[in-house]
Point group: D2
């Protein structure tokens, strides 16, 4: 196993066929870091424009259209002691008739002090009513990552698609392996947008945004063709759908999970239906972005009986 | 505490201002039973037309528009040893382009043998590939329940709305208290559609459908006005949105949870936003019916600090 | 041809299996009137609660499940010289992020004086900027009408479905024939919610609301089974889908128009696809209600060549 | 007025910051041509990969972020005598439950012979039932055009957004002026995807696809900031929303039309509401692509009174 250390100096606000910053072999591990979603690094220095700046892209030797890129998240670690979150639930997740009452005035950011040892966060200047709230447990995760899409496209890191992107799913945390469909030579993997903590849906438009040190292992699965991101967290296998409305994200995620059961576990459609009908779980990623994210998953323990 | 035993003889396929079958006082507990979604009882006898026939409605003395009806699910128990589930994932939760390949041919039901002692189910005649699958753990729940809507409406038990209805949420199980907005005098509570087990979304159109014995306590919360169902399972407080697309169900559920934090915990909108932003959880109820169901929830342990 | 005059004294806020107010034979013409959507009649007298009160239901002898009810709108005539419209575009048709700026404050009604001879309307007290606006041409139409749904349902006149209801489609005007799927014995036809004029979508929640005299001919088409309302205005044949999101309304309307071409013009699916692909027209009914309305249509002149 | 003739040799399948093929001054007219959506030119020669290959991009001197690019479509003319259309309605616009019956088998293309003088098309090998169908009138239009988006993005010509793209709106025909929000220096205008005819929604995934000669005049409107495409066809002013679901496209288009009335006609929100409420028209562009298109419009004759 080769570990490659990489110091980023350029950042992208879209995921696409940008000039690779590093070429690695399949199986290599990369140790690097990401600025926060506003472009600030571990020293709160403003390195680049905001909007989920990406570290990368990383070119993986041998990857080509029709392959899958496996990304094992070996380390996802906030690297500074302050994080920031949004102060208002986005109007798009509220009843339209409630929005005028809810208002949208006080858009100031909310700052949190992070204790990286104890993995906790406390509000620095709590809004009225949360004065004695105390600390919350950190659950660091990657908000935005993925591979270059086809057709010469470059897609804003504000949104997501079959290539991954800004999915903001709490389950993409240290120890999890995520799979992306390779669309271009070298796959061109991008990563950024660290969250020290985040509720489902990212409904205030942010998690606790923080710069982070990341370590991940990239591996090409030759000839394995998937259509949407998949993942494995040891307990569940997952399929991800990114689209709006959520109904369509559900369609993509469910279809991809059926395909996974068919391809990886040889279940035909009636068998997959019978199993998923009583045992599928859905989770909600981002419901703030242009595209929303749904994760469909099933326990590996159930599949291991097959 | 008064316990009222009730033997149903009529069933409704809509939730509305039907003739009450029993009048009870606020605080009374009712012990009764429900046929399965196809109208079959504990003896597999076909008592009524299928489509989620409801037991009830129960008239609760003192309930009127502007109150809330609290329904504590004291018992939710399958009362026979066979259940049935659908054999195909509904086309509405699959990619439209995949449907022709997925097909829709073999629509036969799938039967399960239930062990009510050990709370398990096994497939009677497993589809190919699930031969050695073994048993799944039961998690009995109520698929469809709610109160009569306003305007003289009677709404099909195939769907859901502010009045409750066919929400098919796995979390509506024994021990949970569910709250409904009272729209008519007496509230007129209906219940049915027992599931011995169900995956998220009820994507094959059924759980393991079964008749059941139910016991529940109805209490009027005078002058408490809610707009959507709420619930409390001891660990979480919840708000339910029923609509299509899911995006709109998310809007209803989120707005109602904000209202709950505001009304019950005195949090203003910035405080509620800050808390929910990092700590909200969404769960997916039915994505099969005309209206879909989203549950927004937050841990009570967090709220108890306030 | 028999013409039946009917004076309404009761009104319903839901479309359902209410007690019929009149029994008519298939082919009979009914002359009656409707209060406006707020319950006011030709003399501006407040006869009943607001929310699209319906005149009817009318029981048509011989109609039963599996038939179609044909409703020819022989007369749709405002019967007073004042109408009222909403003053704000509904938040549900605006960008969520724009709503706080757009505001929702000044909810006062806007009154129009109608000239029934010249078929025009002028604003009585125009908002700033519309002072010299002058008159608009009336295009009277029926906002809400339909037949009782199945399962003992009664559905609010605020919404719509396969049974018709509050579709608010500008094309439902004098001279047009609309077809509804009969679900209960006698069909139970309801009608109301007159608009002297209305933009697409009914985006301020109203047209120019007015009471009206209506005349219509009800005919049972035995054994003709349709799934969604259809219509014929002499130039186009149409199929109506009522659902949210609009995407789903498009699916219902398109599918019903394919069925119409198949059933009434013997076109198989490739032929219907080829023709509709290049010649279909969509129109937008209500995008304000719980269910939205899309009309799919094709020129009769094209079909007459077949 | 300068007319620039341009012979394309490269084509793009995404709209983005690609190398400009020509630099023109604001006010210049460009005469060029486009291959059809599959990459075939006037001689049916296959010049490039299919998927709406774009001619361009054209760099317009002086255009920068915050400006508007005005595109007057001076000529939109099919330049060969054969066109091709899809043979099956897309499953995404059909009821999911109808798709298995509708099938998706015979995907062969349908060819049409075009008479460019008489502006008509006839089926070359009509499917059963359309044998005697005869000719349809051509209504040539541009399916896909727009300007480079921000953030270094390049967006597939299969879809659309604030930058324009694959909107497939029948109203984008010769004589119409379309406005796009400039996001990058030079605007970078792309154009292609000619349709000799197309039904609303492009529901078979195509119009009558054809290569075409195009002529258009590009003008920079300095300091005019719009958020979505707008258009003017002499009779109507229009605003375009591109998103899924259609509900969201309606929100974008309506909000942009309100902004147009506010900015260009000084109407405040109550006045704009009153006017649009009774006079707005919606039209349906593409309902086949990842993003759908809605056009909101109002008669200029009404606005000229203000």
């Amino acid at each position: 196993m080769t570990v490659r250390d990489f110091e980023p100096t350029t950042f992208h606000l879209s995921i696409g066929s940008h000039e690779p910053v590093l070429r690695v072999a399949s199986g290599d591990t990369i140790r690097t870091w990401c600025v926060d979603s506003s472009g600030y690094d571990r020293n709160q220095e403003d390195l680049t424009d905001g909007g989920n700046p990406m570290t990368g892209p990383f070119y993986v030797e041998g990857a080509e259209l029709g392959d899958t890129l496996s990304v094992r998240l070996d380390g996802v670690r906030p690297n500074r002691t302050r994080g920031v979150s949004g102060a208002r639930i986005a109007p798009s997740v509220l009843d339209p008739h409630f929005i005028p009452e809810f208002g949208y005035v006080d858009q100031r950011d909310v700052w949190w002090t992070l204790d990286l040892e104890r993995r906790t966060a406390v509000l620095e200047d709590p809004p009225a009513g949360l004065g004695e709230f105390g600390e919350v447990q950190l659950e660091p995760m990657v908000g935005c990552f993925g591979v270059a899409p086809d057709l010469g496209q470059a897609i804003s890191t504000a949104t997501s698609g079959p290539h991954g992107g800004n999915m903001d799913y709490r389950g993409f945390r240290e120890g999890v392996t995520v799979y992306f469909p390779v669309a271009v030579e070298g796959a061109l993997f991008h990563i950024g947008d660290g969250h020290a903590l985040q509720g489902d849906g990212e409904i205030v438009g942010t998690g606790i945004e923080v710069s982070m040190d990341v370590e991940f292992t990239l591996e090409v699965v030759k000839g394995k063709r998937i259509r949407w991101p998949r993942a494995d967290d040891g307990t569940f296998v997952m399929a991800v759908g990114n689209a709006r409305p959520l109904d369509q994200a559900v369609q993509h995620a469910t279809t991809e999970l059926v395909a996974l059961l068919h391809e990886d576990y040889s279940l035909d459609y009636p068998a997959a239906s019978t199993l998923l009908g009583q045992c599928i779980r859905y989770e909600v990623g981002n419901v703030f972005d242009p595209a929303y994210t749904i994760v469909a998953k099933i326990e590996k323990a159930l599949l291991e009986r097959l």
